[in-house]
């Protein structure tokens, strides 16, 4: 019985294993020769979301898709593209969701307005509390 279950599980796992044996794209796990370009690529990769993981950037994930995206970022940087061009290209393909870089837009303005409000509230609290004595 247990053997059977094991076999079934192994069978179920096969397609997964087959997918993983595809070799990763060359620049998924290789750095660019030029350290300045690599630093640029690294900085960009840290702000791009791995779409198949939970809360990880493509710079720290083993997911095949993250590897492909790293490859894309590196060859495009090497070809002389600007990081922000690559970001907008990716955002066009995968939506705003792919970028961690906070951008002010119709759907994100509270993310900027609220911290600003917090600064004002903090200032108001100090003002009220210390006005009399200071």
């Amino acid at each position: 019985m247990r053997l059977l279950a094991g076999l079934l599980m192994a069978l179920a796992a096969l397609p997964l294993a087959a997918q993983q044996t595809l070799p990763p794209a060359p620049y998924a796990y290789r750095q660019l020769e030029d350290p300045a370009q690599e630093a640029q690529a690294q900085e960009l990769m840290e702000t791009l979301r791995c779409l198949t993981c939970q809360s990880q950037s493509i710079a720290d994930s083993d997911a095949p898709m993250a590897g492909d995206m790293r490859h894309q970022v590196r060859i495009r940087i090497a070809a002389g593209e600007e990081p922000e061009e690559i970001r907008s290209w990716l955002m066009e393909r995968y939506g705003d969701y792919v970028s961690y870089e906070p951008v002010m837009s119709a759907s994100t303005w509270p993310l900027f307005a609220i911290p600003l409000l917090l600064v004002l509230i903090a200032a108001a609290i100090f003002w009220r509390r210390f006005r009399k004595r200071a």
Binding site: M9, D96, E101, S107, F126
Partner: protein, 651 residues
């Protein structure tokens, strides 16, 4: 039979919680000596005992692997080592909720048994609040997640043998955090009790303080351990991802830190009454919110939450009642509580107010960044909020807080002048500027890590200044606790800033015999060999690594394939030197036969977790110091009372 005992004990405990609630409420109208009101304390104590019996029953059915219990069949296995059978009891939804109410009931029993310094009526209101919260969670357990449910037909064998969960760190990480979460429920109950009776006194803060300290120590340890686990297990060298699950533990910690400081002001100066109450409410609210985020499935997707709504809605409902109710009570009563003693800006209290506001603002930023994507997802707009948002936005409040944290402890209570500590301030400012110039000019560090390095060094020195001119042996333990905790934060900050500023990364494709280097290390891949474990096979790299030309050391990073369930994990190797860590991972083989190897040299990275441990140690020292002086005060009071009695009989 054992499972039924556990369930019966749980129902009885819930009934006692109801009695406790009624008793505590009646006391508010009829006075503390009403017959039913006097049952409040015994009900709390008995309830603690019953829940302990219930939890012990759960441990027992897991220990003997009683496969007729649904939870055991789904989460355990006869072949598991005993320690993981036991930890399996709380490594699942139902069991972890039972652990939650167990900690909560035991905490309630303990305050009912020992806490005598508050007016009896306030104590009864506190116990009523504690039972009110507990009742919701009893309901959740008994109606929506019964851990003792039987199967009609006992299972032949259990299902749970997930190798990844059989990790000693993972076995104790959740209970550590839970104890922290639930410990804050006591602070919450004290706050509600004080609001109900309008008795916000230094005694109230003193009664609450050991609980905040204890919960805070557990939260600190839980977060530190969780971060280290992510660091070595995920194989990419990251230690904090601003993941909602991580934020769920950080938010109660931030609130508890603010509460701790505010309660200290209330205990020693009878000021900041309203703040303390509010933070007491907020801290446990953050715990409940964290539990909701982790337990409801809302994190994988808002829509996944809607698919299995029963549990999620139940917790959301509890959340709304408790947080909403507590805030409502706060809004109604806060106006009638006076602020307490006044103080000037240049005073210990003034500095603590600034820090409390800053901590609350950081908390608000983390809360916003965590909830906002969930909120927009409900409207089908997907937004990513990650490190590029959290780091700079929280920094707006973190660095002012660190600055005040350096000088605040040097100020005197109530009224002081900056002139008195001008020498110390000048020293610290000079240190800060020197560090900024040094690292800014020599190392070209980015702005946040640069500020981090400079503030870490300054705060590291500043944290010991409160000890100046004191006899080190006679300084009270709680002072040492503060010094250590503040120093620990500086140490952790230095680790984070250094990791971010000075790490070097090397991704290399290496054939057998190839050499590469990362930072001061030279790395030779000698061979890659297959190895097998009990439920995995692995490719193990044999590498010789040498630190700046020194004696080579062999390390063996592995790429493991588990077969049930099929899963690939990278077993990274961490080689620690006093000044940092070498982090090595071996990946897959490229078509040309070379191996993909990832290497990092992370200077001072280990300080992050040593710092976390120092912070917790500081908390432990403060806790011991406070409890000891409480006990001493109590025995002095008793002796005084005895002597007075003696005098009167002599007369």
């Amino acid at each position: 039979m054992i499972a039924e005992i556990g369930l019966a004990a749980l129902w009885l405990a819930a009934a006692l919680a109801a009695l406790q609630l009624v008793g505590g409420l009646v006391a508010q109208r009829a006075g503390a000596d009403a017959e039913i009101a006097r049952l409040t304390r015994p009900a709390a104590i008995l309830q603690g005992g019953l829940v302990a019996v219930s939890f012990a029953s759960l441990l027992w059915v897991f220990a003997i692997t009683d496969l007729s219990v649904k939870l055991v069949a789904a989460n355990s296995h006869t072949a598991k080592p005993m320690i993981f059978k036991l930890s399996g009891a709380w490594g699942n939804h139902e069991g972890s909720m039972l652990l939650w109410v167990t900690v909560m009931a035991l905490a309630g029993a303990l305050i009912a048994a020992v806490e005598r310094r508050l007016p009896e009526k306030t104590m009864q209101a506190t116990l009523a609040a504690q039972s009110f919260v507990a009742l919701g969670f009893y309901g959740f357990l008994l109606l929506a997640s019964n851990p003792f449910e039987r199967l009609a037909q006992p299972a032949a064998e259990g299902l749970g043998l997930n190798p990844l969960l059989q990790d000693i760190g993972l076995a104790f990480h959740p209970p550590t955090l839970y104890i922290g979460y639930v410990g804050l429920s006591v602070a919450f109950s004290f706050a509600l009790g004080a609001l109900l009776t309008k008795q916000v006194t230094p005694d109230f803060a003193r009664a609450m303080r050991p609980w905040i300290l204890g919960a805070w120590v557990f939260l600190t340890l839980g977060i530190t351990a969780g971060s280290y686990w992510a660091y070595y297990e995920l194989g990419w060298g990251g230690y904090w991802f601003w993941d909602p699950v991580e934020n769920a533990s950080l938010m109660p910690w931030l609130a508890a830190t603010a509460l701790l400081h505010s309660a200290s002001v209330l205990a020693s100066r009878d000021a900041l009454r309203v703040w303390t109450i509010m933070l007491g409410v907020v801290a446990f609210s953050m715990s409940m919110l964290g539990t909701f985020l982790v337990r409801s499935g809302v994190l994988t997707s808002v829509h996944a939450f809607a698919v299995d709504p029963e549990r999620g809605s139940f917790i959301l409902f509890l959340l709304a009642i408790y947080i909403g109710g507590a805030l409502l009570l706060f809004a109604l009563r806060a106006g009638s509580i006076s602020e307490g003693e006044r103080f000037s800006v240049a005073s210990r209290e003034g500095a603590l107010v600034v820090n409390n506001v800053m901590l609350s603002a950081i908390l608000a930023v983390v809360l916003l960044g965590t909830l906002y994507p969930l909120l927009t997802e409900a409207f089908d707009v997907r937004v990513s909020v990650g490190p590029p948002y959290f780091n700079p936005v929280s920094a707006i409040f973190v660095f002012p807080m660190l600055a005040i944290m350096a000088v605040g402890p040097l100020l005197r209570w109530r009224r002081d002048s900056w002139g008195r500590i001008s020498k110390e301030v000048a020293l610290l400012v000079a240190l800060l500027l020197a560090a900024l110039v040094l690292f800014g000019l020599l190392a070209e560090v980015a702005i946040l890590p640069l500020l981090g390095l400079a503030f870490a060094i300054t705060l590291g020195v500043a944290s010991f200044l409160p000890l100046r001119g004191r006899s080190l042996r006679r300084a009270p333990l709680s002072l040492w606790g503060m010094v250590l905790a503040h120093f620990g934060l500086a140490v952790a900050l230095l680790g984070m800033a250094s990791e971010s500023a000075f790490s070097t990364e090397k991704l290399a494709a290496l054939g057998e015999g190839d050499v590469t280097s990362v930072g001061p290390w030279e790395v030779t891949l000698e061979a890659v060999e297959p190895v097998a474990g009990p439920n995995w096979t692995a490719l193990s790299g044999r590498m010789q690594v040498s630190y700046s030309g020194g004696e080579p050391v062999e390390i063996n990073p592995q790429s493991r394939n588990f077969w049930a369930p099929a899963q690939q994990t990278a077993e990274s190797v961490l080689l620690t030197r006093w000044n940092g860590q070498l982090y090595a991972v071996i990946g897959t083989q490229a078509p040309d036969g070379r191996w993909q190897v990832r290497l990092w040299w992370k200077p001072l990275v280990t300080l992050i977790w040593y710092g976390g441990m120092l912070i917790a140690l500081g908390g432990i020292l403060a806790l011991i110091g406070r409890v000891r002086s409480d006990l001493r005060r109590r025995s002095a009071k008793r002796k005084g009372a005895a002597r007075r009695l003696e005098m009167e009989t002599v007369k």
